[in-house]
């Protein structure tokens, strides 16, 4: 076949898909078919393309059985679509919502009671002097407490303080710093202040 014939074969073979899709005009179809009937190479190529195309189109649609989608039904039964349920709330929003759902008087009353309990606990805990045992003023009342007793009291005070700090943190998470932190701090400061005052007056430096 001449190079002219080869280029014609090339262009005819480019038109195979167009012919199979019915995209060619009648004139183009005539030229195409007359060439294919005369050229065995193009005829073979055309037949191959047609066979492949027919085989592709004959491939069946795959049936999707019910059992395939069963897991979806159970999942969708438990889960609501995104917009309907809204985006997931943050922890802060959830806590705020929970607190807001509590009646107002209960919220404030509970907080005040909690603060009062904490303050009383602190005032009972901060009774032991915070000075080093060696610095204690010698007096009859002070002599009743050995250094071991004072160290033990300090240790207990530290434990109490740790507990109160934890309690404070937990309460702060619940109600913020509206009621708790400042009064507690003031109460503790006042206790220390009283302890310092008693230090200056040995007669008042009792256990309570």
């Amino acid at each position: 076949m001449s190079s002219n014939g080869e280029s014609k074969c090339y262009f005819i073979q480019l038109q195979i898909d167009g012919y199979l899709d019915g995209d060619l005009s009648e004139a183009q179809q005539g030229v195409f078919m007359s060439h294919v009937q005369d050229c065995s190479a193009c005829a073979s190529e055309f037949r191959y393309a047609q066979t492949v195309q027919d085989a592709v189109m004959e491939l069946p649609q795959i049936e999707c059985e019910d059992f395939v989608l069963e897991p979806i039904h159970s999942l969708t039964a438990a889960e609501r679509p995104m917009k309907e349920k809204g985006y997931r709330d943050s922890l802060f929003t959830q806590v705020t919502g929970l607190l807001n759902s509590i009646p107002l008087y209960f919220r404030y009353g509970f907080s005040a009671a909690l603060v009062a309990v904490v303050a009383v606990a602190v005032s009972f805990s901060v009774v032991a002097p915070i000075e080093e045992p060696g610095q204690l003023v010698a007096s009859e009342q002070v002599e009743q407490y050995s250094p071991e007793d004072i160290a033990l009291a300090l240790q207990e005070l530290n434990v109490a303080m740790d507990y109160l700090n934890q309690l404070s943190k937990r309460t702060e998470v619940m109600i913020g710093d509206r009621f708790l932190v400042t009064p507690l701090q003031e109460s503790i400061n006042a206790s220390f202040q009283r302890a310092r005052t008693r230090e200056n007056d040995p007669l008042q430096n009792g256990p309570i």
């Binding site: 076949m1 080869e6 074969c9 090339y10 073979q13 898909d17 009937q37 065995s40 190479a41 005829a43 073979s44 190529e45 037949r47 191959y48 393309a49 066979t51 492949v52 195309q53 085989a55 592709v56 189109m57 004959e58 491939l59 649609q61 795959i62 049936e63 999707c64 395939v68 989608l69 897991p71 979806i72 999942l75 969708t76 889960e79 679509p81 995104m82 917009k83 309907e84």
Partner: protein, 195 residues
């Protein structure tokens, strides 16, 4: 809403499963992809333009298939080998049926081996009969791109060596049996189709 969702499932599930099946060629994987697509449909139900639901589903299916192929790539060779072993089973059955069976199996393998978007376009257009507009919407391509890619995909499919070999064997068998006139494979000019 649940009724509408169920209606959408009933309407599109075969198409989604078919697309996944011909893309992946492993039934279980295709089912996984189908489930994934419809779970996404449920989760995004309120945000979807329901007039273009079909295109949306096919786009999601297309993306899920790509993700799946990426995840499964290391195991894929073994699956193909398994498919070839399956091909060799049943040598005793009727010759012409076997030829057709081999040809179709090889054809599916050739479709699967096409790169994207050629593979998706062939499946959507030639197997599922989707319109050009639907394919455009599903793959986010222009109309001209879809047509060009479709022709290129078909040409790539025909360039598959095993497929052509099977076809030529069939032709040779037929001509030996019937001596057909004219249309016989004699590709001695080297038109560049056979590698």
């Amino acid at each position: 809403m649940r009724a509408l969702y169920q209606q959408a499932i009933d309407q599109h599930r075969h198409r989604v499963l078919s697309f996944a099946h011909y893309s992946l060629r492993v039934r279980e994987d295709a089912e996984d992809v189908t489930q994934e697509v419809f779970i996404k449909l449920w989760r995004h139900w309120q945000k979807i333009d329901h007039e273009k639901l079909g295109a949306w589903l096919m786009r999601v299916a297309h993306n899920c298939v790509i993700d799946h192929v990426r995840k499964q790539r290391p195991q894929q060779t073994n699956l193909d080998q398994y498919a070839e072993v399956e091909d060799q089973v049943g040598e005793e059955s009727d010759a012409s049926q076997l030829d057709q069976h081999h040809f179709k199996r090889q054809l599916q393998s050739a479709i699967k081996s096409l790169e994207d978007p050629f593979r998706s376009i062939v499946i959507m257009r030639d197997i599922q009969g989707m319109s050009y507009e639907e394919i455009q919407g599903s793959l986010e391509l222009s109309a001209s791109q879809v047509k060009v890619y479709l022709h290129r995909a078909r040409r790539k499919l025909r360039e598959n060596c095993k497929l052509r070999q099977l076809f030529e064997e069939q032709i040779a068998d037929n001509s030996a049996a019937k001596q057909p006139i004219g249309l016989v494979a004699s590709n001695d000019k080297g038109n560049g189709h056979v590698q």
